[in-house]
């Protein structure tokens, strides 16, 4: 396997007695788009700022293109960055903002003008060159900030929650635009976000962070379908968690509210009598026994919410409550609260949370 383009090795960051990033490791391939996903305070922005050079790691090293950049100043790293608050220079026009890095690098005026025009074409704002930032909408400002970041052809692009200050509609269109520009230019990119939908929709891989550590690194498919920890399972998507008691660890048998469930494979590290947390995505569960589903549980309808095309049902199974969605069918009335109901699912969709 080729050497990674960006390698973050055993990085730790402490502010006084508080450790905000602990033994963080990540290798990023050239041209890859990796998202750091996690709640506020999980350390994702701190890792990004260490890659940018705004924070110095307390331990560990950061390597880009085979070169150790851990102690380099931000202006020596050739890294582009887009900030949450746009950070366009208010005193400069759009063209001057985009050309700032090029001018600092000592590029000739004609070359700067040509590169700025190219960037404005890429972000589809060629008519905005002479405007000032205050004359632009938030979405336009962030596109200019993106153009400014990539104009000097950085080795690495860092995006620090670039969409969180924008309204929902602009957010969706801009994230697709960012991804398309990133693919077109083939630039290795780190994207920080706390929005799981954003991370799932545009990333090659996601590092889910919690408490200063990477809980799991994987493709969006892996992160969603095979969460490695309870935190990842809970943080990414909606999840039903059921408490079960191990009855036979070797054959993967678990009891949920006195009903037996057979899991795929044996339960390593568990013994009979242990309590386990079992997770099921709502879309893996059907109301009633369905063909193809090898496991079922009986319970009672606890809540029914009619949402038009979808009916959201919550089924109580002992002390557990399972949420699932069914499509509205005009020929079948929705279930009634209090009536007995079975739910079914494939045992392979049930995850054991650690």
């Amino acid at each position: 396997m080729a050497d990674p383009f960006l390698s973050i090795q055993h990085v730790r960051k402490s502010f006084g007695a508080t450790t905000v990033v602990e033994d963080f490791n990540l290798d990023v391939e050239p041209g890859e788009f990796v998202s750091f996903l996690g709640p506020s305070g999980c350390g994702k922005t701190t890792v990004l700022r260490m890659v940018a050079g705004f924070e110095e790691p307390s331990a560990g090293k950061i390597v880009v293109g085979g070169k150790d950049i851990t102690r380099l100043k931000p202006n020596q790293r050739n890294v582009g960055m887009v900030f949450q608050a746009y950070a366009l220079f208010p005193n400069l026009t759009v063209a001057q903002n985009i050309g700032f890095g090029l001018k600092v690098a000592g590029m000739a005026k004609a070359a700067i003008d040509s590169r700025v025009a190219e960037m404005l074409d890429i972000i589809k704002l060629p008519q905005m060159a002479d405007r000032y930032p205050y004359q632009l909408s938030g979405g336009q400002q962030q596109r200019i900030a993106l153009a400014r970041a990539i104009a000097p052809k950085p080795k690495l692009l860092l995006l620090d929650e670039p969409l969180s200050a924008l309204d929902a509609k602009v957010r969706v269109s801009l994230r697709e635009e960012i991804r398309s520009i990133q693919k077109k230019l083939g630039i290795t990119t780190i994207f920080v976000t706390h929005d799981q939908e954003e991370a799932l929709s545009i990333s090659d891989r996601i590092a889910v962070m919690y408490g200063g550590k990477a809980e799991q690194v994987g493709t969006p498919f892996e992160i969603y379908n095979r969460p490695a920890t309870k935190f990842v399972a809970n943080f990414v998507g909606t999840l039903n968690v059921l408490e079960g008691k191990v009855t036979d660890a070797a054959s993967g048998k678990v009891q949920v509210n006195a009903q037996e469930v057979s899991l795929k494979g044996k339960l390593n590290g568990s013994k009979s009598g242990d309590t386990l947390s079992l997770a099921l995505r709502p879309e893996a569960i059907s109301l009633g026994r369905q063909p193809g589903h090898d496991t079922s549980l009986s319970g009672e309808i606890a809540e029914v919410h009619f949402l038009g095309s979808v009916i959201r049902v919550r089924v109580g199974i002992g002390g557990n409550t399972v949420s699932l969605d069914t499509f509205n069918n005009s020929a079948t009335p929705p279930p009634v609260v209090g009536e007995k109901a079975d739910i079914s699912f494939s045992s392979g969709d049930m995850l054991v949370l650690h």
């Binding site: 100043k73 202006n75 582009g80 960055m81 366009l88 220079f89 600092v104």
Partner: protein, 263 residues
């Protein structure tokens, strides 16, 4: 509602009267030099006086150097405190307020003791040295105004993010301060510069005790010995101040536009 408006006008007229009546009286008095007729004789005498021209030019030059020195000290200091040392702000604010509570005469006596011809830094041993010391003293006197003006300007921009955005684009500290920070606080710097100018033009104590040919001591000298000329000088000084304010308004139109000041 109508009653509120009436009292607002009363307060306005009283305020305007308090401000304009002495001014009008001074103008009127300054024009009565020629017996039985209004004239600009006092102004002609003052403006034609070579000492007026020399002292005024001296103070203008001193003000320019004071502004340059103030900007060079205050802008990087206020910027750095906002960026890296916010915990020092209360201490620095206290220090910048000291010139308001320590009389200029105390400062200047301190200078005379510290920088006399026998000291390791003998500023007072030569005219250029004394001029430099006067400018340093003026910069100290203007510090509360310059610091507050610049700090207020810095408060209107996101100093940290703009600095980081410039840094990541390859800019060093010189470029960041000159191309990003200073243009965005230019109006605030101009306000500080105007206040500095006003302080320096009328300052008497330091210039007098350091024996410098400044405008302040000249004003005092004329005021003590003449009748109509001091009134003419007061009006001229007033006109200069208003001229400065107008100049700042004009300059601010050419200042870089910012999101905080769209017009």
């Amino acid at each position: 509602m109508k009653s509120g408006r009436f009292w607002a006008w009363v307060v306005f007229i009283l305020g305007a009267g308090y401000f304009f009546i002495p001014l009008i009286a001074t103008v009127e008095f300054s024009m009565r030099m020629r017996r039985g007729a209004y004239s600009f004789d006092a102004y002609q005498i003052v403006l034609g006086d070579p000492r007026f021209q020399a002292t005024f030019m001296y103070s203008v030059i001193a003000a320019i150097f004071t502004i340059i020195l103030g900007v060079l000290i205050v802008v990087p200091a206020a910027y750095w405190i906002r960026l890296r040392l916010p915990q020092l702000r209360p201490i620095v604010e206290f220090i910048t307020l000291l010139p308001l509570v320590i009389p200029a005469i105390v400062i200047v006596f301190g200078y005379i003791r510290m920088y006399g011809s026998s000291s390791p830094l003998p500023f007072l041993a030569s005219d250029p040295g004394t001029n430099a010391l006067l400018v340093i003293g003026y910069a100290t006197l203007a510090l509360p105004y310059m610091y507050r003006a610049v700090d207020t300007g810095l408060r209107t921009i996101d100093v940290r993010t703009l600095t980081e955005a410039a840094q990541i684009l390859g800019a060093g500290w010189g470029t960041i301060i000159s191309r990003v920070i200073l243009p965005n606080v230019l109006i605030a710097v101009l306000s500080g510069a105007f206040l500095t100018f006003a302080i320096v033009i009328g300052e008497f104590t330091m210039a007098s005790l350091l024996n410098r040919p400044a405008f302040g001591p000249y004003l005092q000298n004329i005021g003590a010995n003449r009748a109509y000329e001091p009134a003419a000088l007061a009006i001229i000084a007033f006109a200069i101040t208003w001229g400065c304010m107008s100049l700042i308004q004009i300059l601010s139109r050419f200042a870089p536009k910012s999101a905080n000041r769209p017009n």
